[in-house]
């Protein structure tokens, strides 16, 4: 890159800066003694009251969602709670504070040491704690973003397994990118590109509106497209849900392998029983698994190298880098009125060398950060391949532990569920199970 002519630039900048060095140019006049000078008010921020209300609503809706999905097994009731959350957290609280965005606040606090409000911690932690006990009940009926996608689901298309697996990797990349940007101070990407918040707030500009509309149209046919393929919190909740103590099940008691639930899930979260492996593909499978495990470090290393190489490009989202680039560009010509970052730089009184050093610091940070991000993505991709190659024996139809969002759509597809409901209502049992018992 060509070095701009620095001495000339400094001169131009000083000329330009002089009117900005504002001082008391006009001394305060002698005012009449009876003159009462107004006082500029300083209204204080509202106390934590509403924060606690929000937290209480969060805990109550989560508890309700867990109860309805795991004990009551009622899709209608889950839907009702979901609508309430859509109205409360979405349209009333305007989609903020949300646990998805709270990831960034927590990451920023961990990375930079800035103090974080107790509500950001609670909104981040409570859904995860619930997921560790009950699965992703947050997704089903508390998240306003999930709710707005769920209500528009019209005619779900089946996404092929290979595409589903591939697209779901984007969520990991989005999570990694959001954490990297939050820690380095480049902004909160999750919030900036939240596709639905412009509906909640009825503001946000044409681009965000179009993004939201296109997501909603997609969600007519691809159930919860944002949740499945992008949501960074979905990744964390999915991990927690995999080891959850209890979870939503398709059948209330035993699976009779009737296949009726096979297509019940619009989100591709139902796992079929596995076929018995034959001798030949068993050996082949073991070989593949071995190779993939051996290749894993290589995939991680490749990811890290590629990530490091992408560092400088990604760093352009950082305000310091943006400023340095703009000041350099302005140095080539004369800074115009639109060169806002240059004007702001002049006001700081910092030198070009200092700015350059700041920029180098950010670039170095990004170099390390993107290498870690790339390595993480390599681990995710490699780990996914390994996981897909591990043979799992499944005898029943099951909801995928990580993917199931506990929406309860599959309940009504299970004949055992109908038996349970008839028993609850005290009606005569009409369906016999496999063993011929009623």
């Amino acid at each position: 890159m060509k070095r701009p002519p620095f001495p000339a630039l400094v001169f131009v900048l000083i000329m330009f800066a002089s009117p900005l060095l504002g001082a008391e140019r006009f001394p305060r006049p002698e005012l009449p003694p009876d003159h009462v000078q107004p006082v500029t008010s300083r209204p204080m921020p509202p106390g934590p009251f509403y924060g606690w209300i929000d937290t209480a609503v969060l805990v109550v809706t989560l508890a309700l969602a867990a109860h309805l999905a795991l004990r009551r097994r009622s899709r209608a009731a889950i839907f009702a709670v979901m609508l309430f959350s859509l109205v409360y957290f979405g349209f009333y609280r305007k989609g903020c504070i949300c646990p998805i965005g709270a990831i960034q606040r927590v990451a920023e606090s961990l990375g930079t040491g800035s103090a974080v409000s107790v509500f950001a911690l609670l909104f981040f932690g409570v859904p995860l704690i619930f997921a560790l006990f009950f699965g992703r009940v947050f997704c089903s009926s508390v998240c306003p973003l999930g709710a707005i996608q769920d209500v528009v689901l019209l005619r779900p298309l089946k996404v092929p397994a290979w595409l589903e697996h591939g697209l779901r990797l984007f969520a990991y990349a989005y999570l990694g990118l959001a954490v990297l940007f939050a820690v380095t101070g480049a902004g909160y990407v999750i919030c900036r590109y939240d596709p639905f918040v412009s509906f909640f707030r009825l503001s946000g500009g044409m681009q965000m509106f179009l993004l939201g509309i296109s997501f909603l149209v997609t969600c007519l046919f691809v159930g919860r497209a944002y949740c499945r393929f992008l949501c960074p919190l979905g990744v964390l909740l999915g991990l927690a849900s995999r080891v959850s103590r209890w979870r939503t099940t398709i059948t209330p008691d035993e699976c009779i392998k009737c296949r009726l639930c096979e297509d019940a899930c619009p989100f591709g979260s139902i796992r079929k029983p596995t076929a018995e492996p034959t001798g030949a593909n068993r050996t082949e499978g073991k070989l593949r698994l071995g190779l993939l495990v051996l290749a894993l470090p290589l995939v991680i290393a490749t990811g890290a190298v590629l990530g490091h190489a992408a560092g400088d490009v990604l760093a352009r989202a950082h305000p310091t880098v943006l400023r340095a680039r703009e000041v350099r560009a302005a140095g080539a010509g004369t800074p115009g009125d639109e060169a806002l970052r240059t004007q702001a730089f002049l006001k700081t009184g910092r030198t070009l060398e200092q700015l350059r050093a700041d920029e180098q610091n950010v670039l170095a940070e990004f170099g390390v950060g993107t290498a870690i991000l790339g390595g993480f993505l390599g681990l995710v991709v490699g780990g996914r391949l390994v996981a897909l190659s591990v043979r799992r024996t499944r005898t029943d139809y099951e909801a995928d532990r990580g993917r199931c969002v506990a929406c309860g759509r599959c309940f009504a597809h299970c004949p055992r569920e109908h038996v349970r409901r008839q028993k609850l209502r005290g009606e005569p049992i009409l369906i016999k199970d496999q063993a011929g018992k009623t």
């Binding site: 005012l31 000078q37 409000s117 919030c191």
Partner: protein, 189 residues
């Protein structure tokens, strides 16, 4: 069958172990962050020494109209007759008619005090935080008109969306019990 059961148990133990490990990590991490926050909660504010009155505050707040308003530091105001924050220099003449005023929404009013001195006050309900008056005042005057986040309006988002759009990185987090960085600086402390 026995094999199957054994495998299931092992997996269950691993799963439960991972669950408790996750819970412990989560609790530990969040507890650490909670204990470490020495100050009380933080809110957003504009550092007037960095602000260049670019006008992004008007358009980038999640609220319409913006939670940012222009405020007036009366103690450093020169009480000028020809106020650079009030009159539109491009219009030339010194007329208080709408076309001669900088403020597009008639939120800056003036009142005669004595001699050639006028007092300027902001109608906060009307102010849209476009920053035109503050820009004029800072460019040629004392800089007594300046922009501040008004905390009876601000939603205190985790990340202020104006802060993301601010070219001068003038948005800073300040303690909630001293939420203003008003001019003259030092008066806030």
């Amino acid at each position: 069958m026995a094999d199957d059961e054994k495998q299931l148990t092992r997996r269950d133990i691993l799963r439960t172990g991972a669950g408790f490990a996750g819970l412990a990590a989560l609790g530990g991490g969040l507890g650490f962050l909670y204990v470490r926050r020495k100050t009380e909660d933080l809110v957003w504010q504009i550092d007037p020494d960095k602000c260049i009155q670019c006008g992004n505050c008007e358009t980038n707040c999640v609220l319409k109209p913006s939670a940012v308003k222009c405020v007036h530091a009366f103690t450093i105001c020169g009480y000028c007759d020809y106020c650079f924050g009030f009159f539109n220099e491009k219009f030339g003449g010194q007329t208080t008619a709408a076309e001669g005023q900088l403020c597009p929404v008639d939120a800056l009013h003036r009142k005669h005090v004595t001699g050639p001195y006028y007092e300027y006050a902001i109608d906060e309900e009307r102010c849209t935080a476009c920053g035109r008056c503050a820009k004029g005042c800072n460019k040629y005057g004392n800089g007594s008109l300046h922009l501040q986040v008004r905390h009876d309006r601000c939603l205190n988002c985790s990340q202020c969306s104006i802060a993301e759009a601010c070219p001068s990185e003038a948005f800073v987090r300040v303690p909630a019990n001293e939420p203003y960085l008003m001019k003259p600086r030092g008066e806030t402390a």
